[in-house]
């Protein structure tokens, strides 16, 4: 049996790539594994060979020592991979399938999952609703910044790409489906972004930029999210707006704070703020048109 090299948290500011055990269909005790999950069998799981797995700002949150994450935790919750083995209860996936794995571990069987609230699955984390791979207090499911990873409830949770070659052509985009793209999108949905909305996005890190992207995304299946007229990320570091398209959507530098006049719904940056580029014409940032919604994905 092959081993499994994985990215492991080694204390604040430190991560290492270490050898570990190849995944099995049973939860083993280890750093960060909820004791009530130890010994849990997962015949509904599949073992994936990791094709792409992203570093997330929330991983960084742990690595910066901002959580109670234990040393030895295997990191990684943004997992795209190829099914190399499947448990006895997996019916709809085949070895060789390329799949995207939501960062939420979810069972598909509880009330939350039946209501499609997979972020608060009631069965995967004895501590509280909601589970995730490679994350503190999320049940202790081993992370996917590794060569191989076990994905429980695989029939329910894994999204199979329709065509392997097509998927590999677009794998850099598709790998964003595990977390940041849906997260940016969800921020827009929950903020009520719709046609013509003016959107303020707090933070121009990957999730903020995903929210910018999402706010202008119209879906092939029927325009569920018509393009907002303007979406503006605000960041202390406009240099993190990496592309011309996101910069020209108007990354602003946040140096102090934004204030709003109570008498006029007008947003005014205080001194020190400046525009990197002229904002898109549909946005009049100082216009009387007030913001329609805002999404606050933080600045990672």
């Amino acid at each position: 049996m092959t081993g499994n090299r994985a990215v492991v948290y080694q204390g604040p500011g430190q991560v290492e790539v270490r050898d570990g055990d190849y995944p099995t269909y049973e939860m083993k005790d280890g750093p960060g594994v909820n004791k009530a999950n130890v010994g849990r069998r997962t015949p509904h799981g599949a073992i994936l060979k990791t094709v792409a797995t992203n570093i997330c700002g929330s991983d960084q949150h742990m690595v910066r020592g901002r959580t109670t994450a234990p040393v030895g935790l295997i990191l990684g919750h943004e997992i795209t991979g190829e099914v190399v083995e499947k448990g006895l209860d997996v019916e709809n996936l085949a070895v060789g399938d390329l799949v995207s794995v939501p960062f939420n571990v979810s069972c598909g069987r509880c009330r939350s999952c039946r209501e499609s609230n997979t972020g608060v699955c009631l069965n995967v984390n004895p501590e509280r609703p909601g589970g995730a791979y490679g994350y503190v207090d999320m049940g202790g499911w081993p992370g996917g910044q590794a060569e191989y990873v076990m994905v429980p409830y695989a029939d329910w949770t894994a999204l199979r790409f329709p065509d392997r070659d097509q998927a590999m052509d677009k794998i850099r985009d598709l790998t964003m489906l595990t977390d940041i793209f849906p997260t940016g999108y969800h921020g827009c949905v929950t903020a009520g972004v719709g046609t013509g909305s003016t959107v303020y996005i707090a933070g121009a890190g990957p999730v903020g930029l995903a929210a910018v992207t999402a706010s202008g995304t119209s879906m092939p299946s029927g325009s569920r999210m018509p393009a907002a007229s303007a979406a503006r990320p605000l960041t202390p570091r406009p240099g993190r707006c990496p592309t011309r398209s996101t910069r020209s959507s108007g990354c602003l530098r946040l140096t102090q704070r934004w204030t709003v006049s109570a008498s006029k719904p007008r947003v005014t940056p205080r001194t020190g703020s400046r525009r990197l580029r002229r904002p898109c014409s549909t946005l009049r940032w100082r216009s009387p048109a007030p913001a329609g919604g805002s999404a606050s994905p933080g600045c990672t």
Partner: protein, 112 residues
């Protein structure tokens, strides 16, 4: 809340952990956030937060990608590195570089 229009919504999908032991603010250490809830009432703002239920969106977003409707990798500056380079990726990400690091444990993305 201050910049949202009356009746506007605020979506907070990012991570706010229940505890932040290293925070400088004692309230933040126990996951408590001070905000003007009364202002939210006055403006009838709506708020939503929590883990994103990815399954609700990922199939349609996948189709948007496969049909070339979005360039999410370009917009977040997806940058492929090896698994062994992960510690460097973390360090670089920590310094605030405008990159989204994608680990490639089996060297399958080079040609892709």
């Amino acid at each position: 809340m201050e910049i949202t229009r009356a009746g506007g919504g605020i979506g907070i999908p990012w991570l706010y952990v229940t505890e932040d032991p290293a925070a400088s603010d004692p309230n933040a250490r126990v996951g408590s956030l001070s905000l003007r809830f009364g202002l939210g009432w006055a403006k009838s703002n709506s708020f939503a937060t929590g883990q994103t239920p990815v399954l609700r969106y990922n199939r349609e977003l996948m189709m948007a990608i496969l049909h070339d409707r979005v360039q999410i990798a370009r917009n977040v500056n997806a940058t492929v590195i090896s698994l062994d380079a992960a510690p460097d990726g973390y360090a670089e990400f920590d310094s605030g570089v405008p990159k989204k690091f994608v680990l490639d444990p089996h060297g399958m993305l080079g040609a892709a």
